[in-house]
């Protein structure tokens, strides 16, 4: 496994702030997207993003290079954001529905309760509905959705990042999508499961 950031990480480990600055420059938006995806609050996402980089620079000596730097950064970002959400207020977790016996369940049909996204001429309205939908997800589900949909990580990479089983990742993604689809009025059929 070749880490493209290996050289910059080595220089930063040696104390070069400028080289760590190059890593910040590379990954700031990525970390912000992940933290915003979990927190759904601009100020908090900005603060957590910057705290993550300061913490990473401080703890860089702990990074042994067994995973890619980017994966390590993902893990710290997601954990920091989830910690903030949990400190902020309790959120009804969807983990209770993360049962591994998905295959024993009946097909899930979500019928349209409101006009579908195709009918929404206003992008702003769709964004607002999506925002409200995401806010109803637990931090863990928000994390998998942002890693999957925005960062386009594979299930393996998400599992490595979050330190969970790949089955858990698949289950969380399924239920997060289901919840979003339900709120957005998208019909979803379990027969088409493609995980």
């Amino acid at each position: 496994m070749q880490d493209p950031d290996k050289e910059l990480v080595s220089l930063a480990k040696a104390g070069s702030k400028a080289d760590f600055g190059k890593l910040v420059n590379l990954y700031y938006e990525m970390v912000y997207a992940v933290t915003f995806g979990v927190l759904h609050n601009r100020e908090s996402a900005r603060d957590v993003t910057q705290e993550v980089f300061l913490k990473v620079f401080r703890d860089l000596h702990k990074f042994e290079g067994q995973s890619k730097f980017k994966t390590w950064l993902y893990r710290i970002s997601v954990n920091a954001a989830i910690d903030v959400v949990r400190q902020r207020k309790p959120v009804d977790s969807l983990d209770a529905t993360d049962a591994s016996d998905d295959e024993d369940r009946a097909p899930v049909i979500i019928t349209d309760k409101s006009p579908g996204p195709r009918d929404l001429s206003e992008q702003a309205e769709l964004r607002e509905r999506l925002k409200k939908a995401v806010e109803q997800l637990s931090p863990d589900h928000r994390a998998v959705i942002v890693l999957r949909e925005w960062e386009e990580l594979s299930y393996d990479e998400i599992a490595e990042t979050l330190g969970v089983q790949i089955g858990t990742v698949m289950s969380r993604i399924f239920y997060a999508r289901k919840k979003l689809a339900e709120i957005l009025g998208i019909e979803m059929k379990k027969e088409n499961l493609d995980v």
Partner: protein, 159 residues
């Protein structure tokens, strides 16, 4: 996970939502500020460079414009001639300085009888002016308590 079209729809809506957030100019500004405050090595001398460079450049510009205009308005042609000057002659001591001070309430009229006060300068007719020091002569003198620079230019050079 669910039908491909809806999956794409949901994914696309979510990506647009995050892209719009990440693409906000404030995010880039925050990043630049954070980098500048924490992870850019700059020598201390340059840290406040903008505070000094701008006024210095402004002053240099003003000087250059002023210098240019001065050169345009006062062109110096030919070799510079030396300017000689002489010290102004000492002003004669007036009677008011040497005479007795009049006391309070005493008229100064009697001073008119003073031979010094009645002294009349002989009429002087200047027929020819010459300079022993060069073609020009510059000096300063007080005229009604205002310093005045007097420049004599002797046509035809030194006489």
């Amino acid at each position: 996970m669910f039908d491909e079209e809806n999956e794409d729809l949901l994914g696309s809506a979510y990506r647009n939502y995050i892209a719009r957030e990440v693409g906000r100019p404030e995010v880039l500004q925050n990043k630049k500020k954070f980098l500048a405050e924490n992870f850019i090595d700059r020598p201390p001398a340059f840290r406040f460079a903008p505070a000094f460079v701008v006024p210095a450049l402004a002053a240099a510009c003003v000087f250059m414009v002023f210098n240019h205009l001065q050169t345009q308005l006062n062109p110096v042609e030919g070799p510079l001639a030396p300017i000689y000057s002489t010290a102004p002659a000492a002003a004669p001591i007036s009677a008011a300085e040497t005479g007795p001070q009049s006391s309070f309430g005493e008229s100064e009229q009697p001073l008119l009888d003073n031979p010094v006060a009645n002294y009349k300068k002989p009429r002087v007719v200047v027929k020819r002016v010459s300079s022993a020091v060069g073609p020009t002569m510059v000096y300063q003198k007080l005229y009604r308590n205002v310093p005045v620079t007097v420049v004599w230019v002797f046509a035809g050079g030194k006489h």
